[in-house]
């Protein structure tokens, strides 16, 4: 009887079956699924480029691909991973799905704009993929002028148009989240009752809204310079290529926080759930997200320490870069303190959370190395920098993303993933990741420059280790793709709240009905009130 009722219940998944019911949907949960499929494809594409790069670097000679092809490979790896995977990754999938549910809303404030932003990502991705198929682009993902405006003979225009359009997808997602958090909270859901995932996304949205237009206009100027021969950045006219770098990093450094802040939000949820405790120092963690968003806008000059920027500007940017480490450290300390006296269980999401905390700490601390003026001159444009930002982007964001997908998979699909396989692949990802990127710190410190495919023989052993690690890492990424698909058909039914978590998203059936809640909830308590959850469990004798 009970099972029959569950099967007949209308969910967001069975409310319509045709292609049209997906492509014209206004349901934030379905749009999240569309995003999920899209960015998985881009992740695989970026992964293929990465694999080719690592294969080429197995030997000191350039034997697999030519120099020109290698330049295109690292450019397209960067473009795809940054603009079409990492930027939309957590906000557009997990954020889109769970932000409205966590604040007790039926949907985002602007469902049609939400759908539009997915189509913009597809359109932008279309341009970028066209550029790749037509012959690729070789400027590096940074598009530095005057190479990108005057000299490169590759598909700069199509790629830049693609990123320009995808930028508006990101802006509209941010706009939607800002308005939703301001105007759509359920009765009783005050600002300081919001889950930290929502705070993190709110901070992220502010960066998307304030930063992305600047990269858009910068790329527009590059396009105009290439196509119509106006000369904003052209040194031949007295223009300044360093101005391009300032404008580019004014967005692209905060963009790092667009990538990692949502991940931090995921980690707060996971650590709390699997310690069965409220996050230690809730307000500090909430405000640290806002602090990162604000201070993150003031550190871009640390990418220009060797670009002829004035020494005094360098000093200030160096100081501010140290300063932005404080709110990041607040989070790490508070997650650790949350574990203290918690009743910890080691489910897969928690393994990823542990991975995140450790790897993000290494990525963050090496960030301080490159934020110091003297050290940075030594390691600029070396593999040290590559290792540093991959520890933050891959060790941080992708760990959090995978952790979050495992954590909410039962809610999104109504099915459990196979725990044993998931734990194994989490372990493989952790080992493979470290083996790939730790040797790169040493390589960079020894002087291996980035973006070269021919290198001195003494570097080979470290490159071989790194490529071996990448192979292991690839296995760790393919395994979840397989068992997640498997679980759609064969996974155990999850029930509404398999983790016995406290958030609003767990108070509705899995998968959720189209309008999320049968009745809009009234919120009467703080987030993560595990004291109450545990008390109730004792009452019913669980």
């Amino acid at each position: 009887m009970a099972t029959a009722a569950v099967l007949e219940r209308e969910t967001y998944l069975n409310s319509g079956y045709g292609l049209k019911s997906w492509l014209l949907t206004k349901d934030h949960k379905r749009i999240a699924v569309l995003y999920f499929i899209t960015i998985s494809i881009f992740f695989a594409l970026g992964g293929v480029f990465a694999s080719l790069i690592r294969l080429e670097l197995l030997t000191p000679q350039g034997d697999l691909v030519s120099s020109e092809t290698y330049n295109k490979l690292f450019t397209m790896h960067g473009v795809v991973m940054v603009f079409f995977f990492l930027i939309p990754s957590i906000p557009a999938t997990l954020g889109n799905f769970f932000l409205p549910m966590m604040i007790g809303a039926r949907d985002l404030a602007f469902p049609r704009i939400n759908l539009l932003s997915w189509y913009l990502l597809i359109a932008g991705g279309g341009f970028a993929v066209f550029a790749m198929v037509a012959g690729g682009v070789d400027t590096g993902w940074t598009f530095y002028t005057p190479y990108s405006t005057s000299y490169s003979n590759t598909y700069v225009i199509a790629t830049a148009i693609g990123i320009f359009i995808a930028g508006f997808s990101s802006i509209l997602t941010g706009l939607n989240f800002v308005v939703t958090v301001h105007r759509m909270r359920a009765p009783g859901m005050t600002w300081f009752r919001m889950p930290l995932f929502v705070w993190a996304h709110y901070a992220t949205s502010l960066i998307q809204v304030l930063g992305t237009p600047v990269i858009a206009v910068t790329l527009l100027l590059v396009l105009c310079e290439r196509s119509f021969h106006i000369g904003i950045f052209d040194p031949a006219l007295g223009g300044d290529p360093v101005l391009f770098q300032h404008l580019f990093w004014f967005y692209s450094h905060p963009a790092v926080y667009i990538m990692v802040l949502p991940g931090m939000g995921v980690i707060s949820e996971i650590v709390s759930t699997f310690s069965r405790k409220s996050v230690y120092g809730y307000a500090f963690v909430a405000f640290s997200s806002m602090a990162i968003a604000v201070i993150g806008f003031l550190v871009w000059g640390h990418h220009l320490f060797v670009s002829g920027q004035s020494l005094y500007a360098g000093l200030i940017f160096s100081f501010l870069s140290y300063f932005v480490a404080i709110p990041s450290a607040v989070k790490v300390f508070n997650w650790t303190a949350t574990l203290y006296k918690g009743s910890i269980s080691y489910a897969t999401p928690m393994l990823y959370a542990f991975g995140f905390i450790g790897l993000f700490t290494i990525g963050g601390l090496t960030g301080l190395f490159v934020a110091s003026l003297g050290m940075d001159v030594h390691v600029t444009d070396t593999y040290f920098v590559i290792a540093h930002f991959h520890y933050v982007m891959v060790g941080g964001t992708i760990m959090a993303y995978l952790g979050g997908v495992h954590y909410w998979w039962p809610k999104m699909t109504g099915r459990m993933y196979p725990e044993g396989w998931a734990k194994l692949s989490a372990l493989i990802v952790f080992l493979g990741f470290n083996l790939t990127f730790f040797p790169q710190f040493i390589l960079g410190y020894l002087g291996m420059p980035r973006r070269y495919h021919v290198y001195p023989e003494e570097f080979q052993i470290l490159h071989v280790l790194s490529t071996a690690g990448a192979t292991i890492l690839a296995v760790g990424y393919v395994l979840p793709a397989i068992y997640f698909l498997w679980s759609l058909a064969y996974g155990e039914p999850a029930g509404p709240n398999p983790w016995r978590a406290s958030g609003l998203e767990w108070q509705t059936p899995s998968p959720p009905p189209t309008h999320n809640f049968d009745r809009i909830p009234v919120v009467t308590e703080e987030a993560y009130n595990y004291a109450r959850v545990v008390e109730e469990e004792i009452k019913v004798g669980q």
């Binding site: 759509m184 237009p213 600047v214 101005l243």
Partner: protein, 227 residues
């Protein structure tokens, strides 16, 4: 009665909202957030302008004085008048006077077209004067040497990029007005529900304000100096 029923249908709340007030607040906040993104969008160009004008003040002054001031001033007046008629349209919407909304929006649109027409004439003029940076024959009188001609090209690059982007926003604005006129004619709005008229007004005023910055920065910077 039929149009009354139609009203009720379109007045209906979108399903994600609880109250009409919440819906109006969300739409208005959304437009303000969008305008903030627009400020950042134009901001990158204003930054480039500020830096180059500080670096090459003399050439920028001379180049600025070569612009057609009467035409620029006329266009400024046209836009200010269009802002006035836009305000009147929003007022008419508040009072529920459908015909007046349409009347004032059409006037606003005509001002918008007038601005774009005058702007197009001005650009053509620049082309004939060889003031377009892409022209091989680019030449600005009064500045000497290839370096300074290069700096003059920077000025005109910024001029075309910024007025071009502004004109693009005018085109979008006129299209929005056309949509609002069509919706008003269908009877979508009433004294109770006119949020789209309101936020279209916000957008229109924003585009006007951008011009209020562009006009002095491009046309007026050196006019006070004795010739």
């Amino acid at each position: 009665m039929a149009s009354e029923a139609h009203h009720l249908e379109t007045l209906a709340l979108r399903e994600q909202f609880n109250t009409e007030e919440q819906q109006k607040d969300a739409s208005t906040l959304g437009m303000w957030v969008f305008l903030i993104t627009e400020i950042m969008f134009f901001g990158g160009m204003f930054l480039a302008y500020t830096i180059y004008r500080t670096t090459f003040p003399n050439v920028f002054g001379i180049a600025s004085s070569s612009l057609n001031l009467p035409i620029g001033a006329t266009n400024t007046c046209v836009l200010l008048l269009s802002s006035f008629t836009m305000v009147m349209a929003v007022r008419a919407a508040q009072l529920g006077q459908q015909k007046m909304i349409i009347f004032f929006l059409i006037i606003t649109m005509l001002f918008g077209f007038a601005f774009l027409g005058i702007k197009a004439y001005e650009w053509t003029e620049k082309f004939e004067e060889h003031h377009v940076p892409a022209q091989a024959a680019f030449h600005l009188d009064g500045v000497t040497g290839p370096d300074q001609q290069g700096h003059a090209k920077l000025f005109f690059s910024l001029y075309f990029a910024m007025t071009g982007l502004h004109a693009l926003h005018m085109v979008v604005g006129v299209s929005i007005l056309a949509f609002i006129i069509w919706q008003t004619a269908r009877g979508t709005y009433s004294a109770k529900y006119f949020t789209p008229v309101d936020i279209a007004g916000l957008y229109w005023h924003f585009v006007d304000v951008v011009w209020i910055f562009l006009f002095p920065l491009f046309y007026l910077i050196d006019r006070h100096l004795p010739k």
